[in-house]
Symmetry: D2
Subunit: 138 residues, 4 copies
């Protein structure tokens, strides 16, 4: 699927998660880049981007790179995620998540995600994520 | 802080995160129980509760048990979280997260969170979470 | 399998891992308790038990509780492990790991492990671990 | 510290961990590469490299890259590690771990480690690891 096809599919399939201004800038079956436009709902006390915002975006980027590899398998689900928060992402700036597949098996996929703020080059969060791929129904 | 005081503090400090119908049922400095009322925005394809919903609730429950131990330190921040999704949480039912502190140091706290659906007893997710405690300013 | 049968099976199948004085004190398909006798090879600078010692014991305890549930499936393998080191385990004392299954599926099992020093009650490490269960060959 | 100085320091400080034929091929304060020579003690049932071998090497590589950045601080300790096992590492071949620092703070460092078998290019394991840096004593 092209990045545009994937974006259209996700906006239709999962409006609750593909919220706000999430756009897929690139996705090629090995890696992807997803941008989430800033909005005040992302903040936590201290006026930095909240952990849940970064976790949700990491999980979404993993889903995007996985589907760009295996096609529109909407029922692929997260089995686990580990995230390290590295630096504060400041209010007012978009978030950019880059995900790449570390392993793509028949039943499990593992990926790595780095999230940056559009405000600077250093990563604000790093995550690894495992997805379960449901068996095909013919 | 009592559960009620904590709830009032959090509703005021972090309206973006203490959303919807989140209530603190119990919090005593060692463990806590937090309930999030069901709403359709929690869903993902397949009509089960989304990973981000469970991640956000786990992180919030950790924050609640931590503040119940150290007081209203709003700027305590998540440094890392690992979550395993164990079973599907069905649409239509509240979520209940129970968190307990595994370690409370001067600068780092580590906790464990189990999330269940009000629909059944088995855990839908299990997480461990580390928070950084900022130094006191006198 | 009883704890004694499991211990005999593991000593035979995996002499490299079931080393030293590892004994299975309890294992019942839901939880287990494994003790590793202290030896100086466990140490790191600072005279505390090394991370790798605690990681290996956590992984072993998960393997033990899993096999106590599904039988002598030697080829079950770890897919992931997350460990938090909570306090220093002092030199000179045995380690005791307690593992319990959080989820037992057909292909994946998830468990939680707490490791303590025989010297005190507080946990020195907490881990979650996922194992892959190979398909049966008839 | 150069790779050679670091290797000499570690062989002296931690003989239990810097075992066998571990060599530091490169270490520059940002990344490092560590090789562990194959030996039969690495194996588990199925004749593949055991999880504990890969976990210990990942932790060691993180320690090496950290000390290459901050100097011979032997008492830096692991606070957490998450590892995903991606493919089987075959018997008979050395292991090569490459670590890089994701974040270097005053008290915490976070790194990422990829382990490969000398037999092939694909990663056998991927880990993220957090170390605590003790305060300086003057």
């Amino acid at each position: 699927m092209t990045a545009a096809e994937l974006e259209a599919f996700l906006r239709k399939e999962m409006p609750q998660l593909f919220r706000g201004s999430v756009t897929i800038e690139q996705a090629d079956g090995r890696s992807c880049r997803v941008r989430e436009g800033y909005h005040d709902g992302m903040l936590r006390p201290g006026d930095t981007i909240s952990g849940p915002t970064l976790m949700a975006l990491s999980d979404l980027a993993m889903y995007v790179v996985l589907l760009s590899a295996i096609g529109p398998v909407a029922l692929a689900v997260t089995t686990s995620l580990t995230i390290n928060f590295l630096s504060k992402a400041p209010a007012g700036h978009d978030l950019i998540a880059e995900a790449r597949l570390l392993k793509l098996g028949k039943r499990l996929a593992v990926g790595e995600i780095v999230v940056r703020s559009a405000a600077g080059a250093e990563p604000v969060a790093h995550a690894t994520c495992t997805y379960s791929i449901p068996p095909k129904r013919n």
